[in-house]
């Protein structure tokens, strides 16, 4: 795949991102290789939010005056864009504050009211804490159990073992689409089918896939698919839950307050239609406007072209990291089976020291457990160093990383 689509021109794209286009205070170029933590923002996104605040800032949904109607339109355009991005029906697109809240919504609203002792939630051994801890919390409350599906030494899901763990006790299967540590892309549609075969629900954490490749929620057919704004060129403060409308309709609400009601009396309340039923209080309005701008920006480039670019980046990155003595890359090596997040361990050097050294070269990478401590234990390490790319990452960034890593070894005297 990939080669029929022209990759993006990452160097040219940098110009659209003010943080990347401007030299650092010390005059040098920044090599931002931490997009799996959060992406940089194009000027168009900042402009859209500023325009919202300067032209039509008002609270949404109930204002009679024109400015409030215009604010509502711009806000709802964020929902429309998010639904379009993942090919999902609009009424199933709930706006949350981040991907983590979106998963917690499912865990609390559905889980606490439904799970019983003996029930199992199956998650994979490469989940982010956001798809582990909510289930542990709800399991503690309800008596259900969280089960972890093993991963192979190559950093992929063990599909046979996974199949074996999906039983009639399984009530929900949670799986990450693209691992934020290993880069691994998981066969989520297949896993959703396995979950549905036993009558379990399926949740796909698409936080690391939606920004980087075409993702079709309708084709994946999960009951819940989550992603987050700040990793796809959008602002902080907004995340998305793409839920199957019939399932969302059946679940009682989560957060209560303004917007999500139909009627409130001292005796009790009734709920608004989905998706508003799950959106209590003043929503992230400017953030939805920024999200729409980010999605238009990505669509203008083409998610398939971004994916093609990152496929090339995989080849460059693996070749570059292979040149560094004592370095072991984790996760799949096949660029068709992985995204642009690369974790490694290095003989005799701790990730903190590596990241600190790289920072002195204006290279931003992440060191630590990447919110995936269970996975770290499987990998037999406490921490890794991770470099992660995006549509604006260039071969120059990759080569700067390689050179700095080689220099790092001699600087710390580990040859």
């Amino acid at each position: 795949m990939g080669n029929s689509v022209t990759a993006v021109d990452a160097t040219a794209l940098k110009a659209e991102f003010p943080l990347l286009a401007t030299p650092r205070p010390d005059g040098r170029t920044l090599h931002y290789l931490d997009s799996a933590a959060t992406s940089q923002k194009p000027q168009a996104v900042l402009d859209a939010m500023d325009a919202y605040y300067c032209e039509t800032n008002a609270n949404v949904h109930r204002g009679v005056y024109e400015m409030a109607a215009e604010a509502t339109d711009r806000f709802e355009a964020g929902r429309t864009a998010a639904a379009r991005l993942v090919n999902h029906p609009r009424e199933g697109l709930v706006l949350a504050k981040n991907a983590t809240e979106a998963i917690n919504l499912v865990a609390w609203a559905w889980g606490t009211r439904t799970l019983r002792e003996g029930d199992e939630i199956l998650v994979t051994g490469m989940e982010h804490h956001s798809d582990i801890v909510p289930w542990q919390i709800v399991a503690t409350i309800t008596g259900a159990k969280v089960v972890f599906a093993p991963i192979t030494p190559g950093g992929e899901l063990d599909m046979d073992a996974l199949q074996g763990l999906i039983t009639e006790r399984t009530r929900l299967v949670g799986v990450v689409h693209a691992s934020n540590v290993l880069g691994t892309i998981n066969p989520v549609a297949e896993i959703v089918t396995m979950a549905h075969a036993v009558g379990a629900l399926a949740l796909v954490d698409a936080t690391q896939s939606v920004p980087h490749m075409p993702v079709d929620a309708t084709a994946i057919d999960a009951d819940f698919l989550v992603f987050t704004g700040h990793k796809l060129c959008g602002p902080t403060g907004i995340g998305c839950l793409a839920g199957r409308p019939s399932v969302l309709e059946a679940i009682e609400p989560f957060l209560g307050g303004g917007e999500m009601i139909n009627d409130v009396t001292t005796e009790g309340s009734t709920w608004a239609e989905i998706p508003l039923k799950f959106e209590a209080g003043t929503p992230p309005i400017a953030e939805a406007v920024g999200l729409a701008a980010a999605i238009e920006f990505l669509e203008g480039i083409g998610l398939d072209r971004i994916r093609a670019h990152e496929r090339e980046l995989c080849v460059q990155m693996l070749a570059a990291l292979d040149e560094v003595p004592g370095l072991t890359v984790l996760g799949p090596r096949d660029p068709d089976r992985r995204g642009a997040a690369f974790s490694w361990v290095m003989d005799d050097l701790h990730p903190h020291d590596i990241a600190q050294f790289l920072d002195s070269k204006n290279i931003c990478v992440r060191a630590g457990h990447h919110c995936a401590k269970p996975l770290m234990r499987v990998l037999g390490t406490q921490a890794t160093t991770r470099a992660s790319g995006y549509l604006y990452t260039t071969e120059e960034d990759v080569l700067a990383l390689r050179d700095a890593l080689i220099e790092c070894r001699s600087w710390f005297g580990v040859g």
Binding site: A69, I261, A272
Partner: protein, 149 residues
């Protein structure tokens, strides 16, 4: 104030001030009580059906000029129509409110004056309140008679 005059056409203000078909029906074939979640306005709608035809339509409840005028126009337009025809009229009105149809005066009668409401999303709910109540009332009527016989 072209916008305002456009929204509040004379015909609307007239129906608002002299509301037609206001009230309840004692032995209604079906009754519906709806409210507008935006402002809390309430709408009661009663229908009397004979031979698959709306022989009487009455509506009650307080509300803004748009919702009152819409209810007033509804009773005029709907009375005498066969149920299927009435439902088609409601659907035509609904599509007009969402700007998805070229409105037809022959179908809508005075209610065509509400076309300008479509530009005001919050007010669309006001205009639709009684009309969707009619849809629900017909559905409710059909359900009871289906079950009853």
């Amino acid at each position: 104030m072209g916008g305002l005059d456009d929204l509040y056409q004379q015909l609307i203000l007239d129906h608002y001030r002299n509301r037609r078909g206001r009230g309840r029906i004692d032995h209604a074939s079906a009754s519906v009580h709806e409210h507008n979640p935006v402002c809390g306005d309430e709408c009661y709608l009663d229908i009397l059906v004979l031979d698959d035809r709306l022989v009487e339509v009455r509506s009650d409840g307080d509300g803004c000029s748009i919702s009152q005028a819409a209810a007033s126009m509804l009773t005029e337009v709907a009375e005498g129509k066969r149920l299927e025809e009435a439902l088609e009229t409601v659907e035509h009105f609904r599509l007009m409110m969402h700007g998805e149809v070229e409105p037809d005066e022959d179908v809508l009668g005075d209610a065509i004056a509400l076309e300008g409401v479509a530009k005001y999303p919050v007010r669309v709910k006001c205009a639709l309140l009684s009309w969707l109540a009619l849809r629900d009332a017909i559905a409710g009527y059909r359900e009871t008679t289906a079950h009853g016989g």
